[in-house]
Amino acid sequence: MEQIGFGIISACLLGAALGVVTGKNLVHSVLWLAVTLVTTAALYVFLNATFLAGIQVILYTGGVITLMLFGVMLTRRDERVMVENEQNGRRLWIAALAALGLFALLAAATFKTPGLPRTQAEPTTTDAIGRAFLTEHLLAFEVLSLLLLAAMVGAIVLARRHDAGADARGGL
């Protein structure tokens, strides 16, 4: 049962990821990424990390994918449903070779590593994660909030239009 579930999730995950990198339409690529991220959340449920699965769906699909879609709409060259996402023909084979080589290297390294844990440990609880955030990892947690603030301010400064009338015309 577990093997079948993992097999199905893996197949969906890899298929969706291939959709991201091979799609001809940029919008389709972004939506394939959404499928990949949601399937990853399913994998997290499978690995008994339900809290993380929820966070993954809310932050990634709710945040990242929406941003990407807006990015696509703001940077397209003509008003069509098809947004070009072409591949660099000359570098295609080099890229494929590099990816395969990296995979071979990583796989070899994994199989050679001694002492990988073989059995599953006790599942962690959401309660324990929350406590770890506000005790052991409090400093990292606070620094992260600062980083998010910095990213937000940075993005607004970078993407802002510099003509004065833009604010008055703003809105959707």
């Binding site: 993992f6 890899l14 990821a17 291939l18 991201v20 990198v21 940029l26 972004v30 990424l33 990949t36 991220l37 990853t40 994998l43 997290y44 690995l47 990390a49 809290f51 993380l52 966070i55 993954q56 932050l59 990634y60 945040g63 990242v64 941003l67 990407m68 990015g71 940077t75 060259r77 996402n85 072409e86 591949q87 570098r91 080099i94 890229a95 494929a96 990816a99 995979f103 796989a107 994994t110 990988l116 844990p117 073989r118 059995t119 599953q120 440990a121 962690t124 324990a128 994660i129 770890a132 955030f133 990892h137 992260l144 980083l147 998010l148 990213a151 937000m152 940075g154 970078l158 993407a159």
Partner: protein
């Protein structure tokens, strides 16, 4: 399922991401590849936390997810800036500084 199969899956995802980053011309297409790679790393963190026990793996994964969101925000702002100055987001066209 053993840890090795989860690791192999995340490795494959990471390499697909690498392929995307190397082969795409559109800046947003490249960002999508980076997202795939970050996602693969998170899977590794969660898998090790499942098999090794302890809460640190998942805490770290939450940090990683938040960092990725911040990275995407800034990355997209840069892409929009690129589009505004050149009306094009193909990264190999943005070579004004190359000799």
């Amino acid at each position: 399922m053993p840890l090795t199969s989860v690791l192999l899956l995340s490795m494959a995802l990471f390499c697909i991401g690498v392929f995307g980053v190397l082969s795409r011309r559109n800046a947003i297409g490249i960002l999508l590849g980076v997202e795939l790679m970050a996602n693969a790393v998170n899977i590794n963190l969660v898998a090790f936390s499942r098999f090794q026990g302890g809460v640190v793996g998942q805490v770290f994964a939450v940090f990683a997810i938040a960092l990725t969101v911040a990275e995407v925000v800034v990355g997209l702002a840069l892409v929009i800036l690129l589009y505004r100055s050149r009306k094009d987001v193909r990264v190999d066209e943005a070579n004004a500084l190359s000799g």
